[in-house]
Amino acid sequence: GCGSSESAGSGQKEKKVVIGYFPNIDHAPAMVAKEKGYYEKELGKDVKIEYKTFPDGGAFMTALKTGDIDAGLVGPGPVMNNFTNGADVKILAGASSGGTAIVASQKSGINSVEDFNGKTFITPGVGCTHDVQMETFLQDFGISSARIGGTLKHVTGNPAQYANMFETGKVDLAAVPEPWASQLVKQVGAKVIVDSSKISYGQTLPNTILVSSGKKVKEDKDVIAKIVKAQEEAIAFIEKNPEEAKQITINSIKDITKQELDKDVIDQAWKNIHFTSDVNEEVIQQFANSSVELKFLKEKPDFAALINTEFIK
Amino acid sequence: MFLQIQDINKQFVNQNTASTVLSDINLDIKEGEFVSILGPSGCGKSTLLSIVAGLTKPTSGEILLNGQRITKPGKDRGMVFQQAALFPWMTVEENVMFPLRKQMKKKEAKELAHHFLQKVQLSNYTKHSPHELSGGMQQRVAIARALSMNPKVLLMDEPFGALDEQTRSRLHHELEKIWLETKKTILFVTHSISESIKLSDRIIVMGTRPGVILEDIQVRIPRPRAQHPQMTAKLEEKIMRLLQSEIDKVVKEELAYAVNN
């Protein structure tokens, strides 16, 4: 449960707000906001802020649905998917965009999209954001996945394993987010075939968004507005102080996961990621339509009720 | 009457055919009586004891103890099983102490257990596991256990079957002594005609297929009976003949069956 639903103005009861995010470079705005104390500053002393980190979108969405977290950063895939299945979720703002690239292994000998036919590609999940981006992009070249009658063989797996799979020749291509794309390039000499500026929705689709539940937005408009504001400040900070932001990100990730990311890789990845609060309703609807076209979704969802941009400045 | 066995019938179902094991068994046993049951192998002696113990439900009929219907096993009827039925996870001593636990202190129970283990000549083996004993030794532990329980009715299913004649004879003596001292009621299944004559007030001779009571013989030989060899021999002769005709019947049936199948 969460204490914040008691919004009686008595001020005696301490309010609690729980914010969720992932130990992931795209989630830098949350880490910076936490580190720099923007949430505290906006929400005031009376509100106790707790942070919860998640390893994957499924757990995040469940926690949001049950009210275990009040708001947080997550990828758009799980949000849209859960929304189409009836989850009461609202997109409040973007956090970052870009970063997805299609890379090929050295072994595969692939140099351009023309070489893709009959190859095997890997993504973190079936119908995940990166998968939809890649398959939508390939539609223009007349290449499609075996799932819908094409020639490309599709497998899924944890991005941490892609390096091995490239090395052992198990897969030829991958649609991956940063920092994995940069890491693959650095570690096993993978080749970026389609970079994040060219891939479908590469620039426009946020890859991390700030969400909350519809109930929360209705009941606690004030708090939500402050959370959005804190994030905007964090993004402004990131733009102004990229080096410090990078260091905060690396340290935060290390705190949570005990894993230290390579500075080189972060530098490279940072170039491909764009931190912004913007979120475009139309793009999200288009993206969903692509999902339907690619048969990930059975019916066309209507995202009109999903996005609420009233809090973005 | 102390123990009444009334119209007991028992059928077992094997391969979908019911076979009658006990048929119309009626017996009235007085308190303090020592009753032996003799009969050919497989005639239903163990089954009858098990019914009296409350472990097997009769198909019809009932058992009354002091006028009360017996429906389940109880401490008032101690049983020595045909197989020793010792608990393998307990030592000899613990096995004997098991039924005593609740009614006395541990120290007392231990003393009592040792007392009876000595009576069956096993003082040396109190800490052994049952599997470390010979067949006859296991049976003696079971006897010690039943005796130490001191039940009103003692049901004994071939308790001395695995013992040599000398040990057996010592235990006859012990059992007789205990019986005379405590005036227990004893139902005693045996294969030895002489044993039954030596010990009991009354001998029930059973026939087989189905199990019925052939004769109910009062033994009127004065105790100690070893001193009356002629009377004993005469009775032995009589019972022998009874049982011989039963076994001849079985052999005849057997031959007929073997020829027909």
């Binding site: 499924g58 649905k65 998917n81 859960n82 299945n85 009836g86 079936v126 497998v155 899924t156 | -």
Partner: protein, 253 residues
């Protein structure tokens, strides 16, 4: 017959309680759907045949994996029961390896077998082997030495002794092992099928779970449950009843 009726009543009661709870508490269907919603979803899946293909594919993998797991488990169980050195070294290793969750095995499976059926089967085998091994091992250790001795004096030795005496004597443990193996093979399959590109219940489950489609998640749980029940009734319970009756271990007298 009577037990079938009991079973039906039991499950109908559960369904009613579930439907009631969901309706009364007004739980959001995204969190916990009502049985009727689940039924709808299942009907849809069966109508467009996707669930049927899933079931067939999963069942095939399960059957192969479980069969191999049983063979390996029986073999290892015998080895550990009979050989003290193996028990103390290999036995410990097996127990340790089995504490490792399927997620960790996935990359190793991929490394060894590639992204294909073999890797999925490997995961299923891993899931079911331990229970089979450990149950078989203790089953063999618990065979009464009297039976073995008796058989030996009748000239039975080695393989014959095992097949005719030790194995039948440890059947109750073996059935338990298979029963548990069955449950854990399903679990492993659900994890392993993430590696496959469909069809398969685990693939669909993962997909449904990612999409927050609780109706389908629960629908698949029900499918697994129903298949499990059918196999349990047709196979395990029969064998067990037979064994208990034959050995005189039934407690009705």
């Amino acid at each position: 017959m009577q037990s079938t009726i009991k079973r039906i009543i039991f499950f109908v009661l559960i369904l009613i309680a579930w439907q009631g709870t969901v309706r009364i508490l007004g739980v959001s269907p995204a969190l916990m759907p009502a049985p009727t919603d689940v039924l709808d979803e299942l009907a849809k899946g069966f109508a467009d045949k996707t669930l049927i293909y899933d079931i067939i594919a999963s069942f095939r993998r399960l059957a192969i994996g479980l069969a191999i797991a049983i063979i390996i488990g029986v073999g290892l169980g015998i080895l550990l029961a009979k050989n003290k050195t193996a028990d103390e070294t290999l036995g410990t290793l097996i127990l340790a390896l089995q504490s490792v969750p399927s997620i960790v095995w996935l990359p190793i499976a991929i490394m060894w077998f590639g992204l294909n059926e073999k890797a999925v089967t490997f995961i299923v085998i891993l899931g079911a082997t331990l229970v089979m091994t450990i149950n078989m091992r203790i089953g063999i250790k618990n065979v009464s030495p009297l039976y073995i001795k008796a058989a030996q004096t009748m000239g039975s030795r080695g393989w014959d002794l095992f097949i005719k005496i030790i194995f039948p004597a440890s059947i109750p443990y073996a059935v338990t092992g298979i029963r548990l193996g069955w449950a854990f093979a399903w679990r492993a399959l659900m994890a392993g099928e993430i590696l496959s590109a469909g069809p398969g219940l685990g693939y669909t489950l993962k997909f449904a779970s990612d999409f927050g489609n609780m109706k389908l998640v629960i629908g698949i749980m029900i499918i697994i449950g129903v298949i499990g029940t059918i196999v349990d009734i047709l196979f395990f319970q029969r064998v067990e009843k037979n064994v208990l009756r034959r050995w005189g271990l039934e407690t009705n007298n």
